[in-house]
Amino acid sequence: MKKTLFKGTALPWLLLAPQLAVTCIFFLWPAGAAIWQSVLQEDPWGTRSEFVGLRNFAEVLVEPEWRGAALNTLVFSTSVAVLAMGSALFLAVQADKAIRGGNAYKTLLIWPYAVAPAVAAVLWLFLFHPSIGLIGQALNQAGIAWDYKLNGGQAMTLVIIAAAWKQVSYNFIFFLAGLQSIPKSVLEAAAIDGARPVRRFWTIIFPLLSPTSFFLLVVNLVYAFFDTFGVIHALTGGGPGKATETLIYKVYVEGVQNVNLGSSAAQSVILMVIVIALTAVQFRFIERKVHY
């Protein structure tokens, strides 16, 4: 890459300004506010606040509801990541084969990424609603008691599917790029060495995709942790009971519905720490990771 040296300091700062402004206004300021809020306790009328140190954190971490939400998040994000990556990899492998209409197929697969989370949730609602959803109706007619508004397990399954569906496109693009960067002759060499397609996939393609897979795993976990609020909110609202209440959803419930700002802020700070940790792991790994 070409290196440009600036004479003064005014122009570089001017060029950096938009990015710095975005970072400050949309990240540093709210993050700072959240951290400040997390060590305060407000009175019920919101007129006075008192410094309480780390008490909000201590209370959150022992709260059974928070632990329940943490467990939900673990189940939810792992399932979303596995489902979204697994389906995307399968679709990418199919798309990588030279097929007629391959480009149309690839374009269609990318569309779900452009659908807003709430709209995606409504699409799935129309499919799985027990009385008006196509699949929901069919399930009930087939004798399966399907009602995600009553059954926590079914509700979790539905939000997982809806959230994963939205992420498949993103993963698909990366997997497809990863597959296309594997030299064709390496696969031909494996074929001549006697490896059948399934074996070629597991011994050659899959290991060579591992850097891509790891990157996507982190991205998918972060997505499931933070970007799935819309899907959950529109589909189940965290219910039934608290069956689909994840950590991010609980931050909203705590802050907006229960107006417990200190606790809500403390929970969002914990989430922030988690995402920083995930990103740090990813950067360390990428630095050290072998690139083929």
Partner: protein, 356 residues
């Protein structure tokens, strides 16, 4: 160790015909070099033998067994690729062991065979490295090793030396030849480099536009090229071609450039006045005191010899290779020895041999 029979193999991509019915029989332990310019179908032919492409028509037999419809895995062949195609996530030892593992050989035997092949190629010290830690020449050796350990019926080489620098290429070329002789494995070697072809092959297949223009030993191809394409492709600098017509009842040619040359080896068939192409290699043209005048427009001194480019009186280009330093002056006189002439039919480009 096996024979290979390619019969009437053709290949089309859509309406684009790449191979027009190629026949080839390879004896046990023979090294055949398929040589031709890019786009002549040589790599396609190799890939069809490997099973990486399917032939549109024709059959492939390895050791007498029809393998036309079989997967590469079932053909018991090994291939060395131009870009080496090593498995980047495996060590050298794992690369070599991969095919053996798939065949379910016991671990101690795999280890023995890998060690043997590594010793043979002088790469014992590299067994624990990964491909990206190796130089081009080392990678090529590993690719060879991966082919050798399998003890296949057939070796296929797809321009394996093209990515190496000139010095290494010469060295690896000799090594491949020695190895192939020693192991006695039937081999097909594809290249666009005529020197590689001449030095490596027991026999050559000169490909041109999807046809096997000539299948013969390197010396035969050089001394008796089957048509003008082969004649121009093999030999450096390339053979000169001069226009002429058959005369004196087939015993001589009247060159457009002037002189009448009598054939040294007997009369050619054909009507009086049949248009001919006369080929003569630059090294066979002789400089004389009184002959055809050749004004020179380019002189290339190569040290031990000199290549001269000029134009004959009728405007045809002629290249001459002379031993020793460049002659003084802007023109020389040349003669074309009758014994060194190659006679081709101008219409078909085919070689015209004397009537027996």
């Amino acid at each position: 160790m096996a024979t290979l029979d390619v019969s009437a193999v053709s290949k089309s991509f859509g309406t684009n015909k790449i191979l027009h019915g190629v026949d080839l029989t390879v004896a046990d332990g023979e090294m055949i070099v398929i040589v031709g310019a890019s786009g002549c179908g040589k790599s396609t032919l190799l890939r069809i033998v490997a099973g990486l492409e399917t032939a549109t028509t024709g059959t492939i037999r390895i050791a007498g067994r029809d393998v036309t419809g079989l997967e590469p895995a079932d053909r018991d062949i090994a291939m060395v690729f131009q870009n080496y195609a090593l498995y980047p996530h495996m060590t050298v030892a794992q690369n070599m062991a991969y095919g053996l593992k798939i065949r379910g050989l016991p671990k101690p035997e795999i280890a023995t065979r890998v060690a043997e092949a590594a010793t043979l190629l002088g790469i014992q010290a590299l067994l624990d490295r990964r491909p990206r830690q190796l130089s081009g020449g080392q990678r090529q050796r590993v690719a060879m090793g991966r082919a050798i350990v399998r003890e296949p019926k057939l070796f296929l080489f797809d321009e394996p030396l093209s990515n190496l620098d000139a010095k290494l290429r010469v060295q690896m070329r000799a090594e491949i030849r020695r190895l192939q002789r020693r192991l006695g494995v039937t081999s097909l070697f594809v290249t666009h480099d005529q020197t590689e072809a001449m030095t490596l092959g027991d026999r050559l297949v000169v490909m041109h536009a999807g046809h096997a223009a000539q299948v013969a030993t390197p010396m035969e191809v050089w001394a008796r090229p089957a048509d003008t394409y082969v004649a121009g492709f093999i030999g450096s600098p390339a053979m000169n071609f001069l226009e002429g017509s058959l005369t004196e009842g087939g015993r001589a040619v009247a060159l457009k450039a002037g002189p009448l040359l009598r054939f040294a080896d007997g009369p050619r068939p054909g009507a009086e006045g049949l248009p001919l192409i006369i080929g003569i290699r630059p090294e066979h043209v002789e400089a004389t005191e009184a002959g055809l005048a050749l004004p020179l427009d380019l002189v290339e001194p190569l040290g031990s010899e000199t290549v001269l480019h000029g134009r004959l009186p009728d405007g045809e280009a002629l290249t001459v290779k002379l031993a020793g330093p460049a002659p003084v002056g802007g023109a020389i006189q040349v003669s074309l020895p009758a014994a060194a002439l190659h006679v081709f039919d101008a219409a078909s480009g085919k070689r015209l041999d004397p009537v027996a």
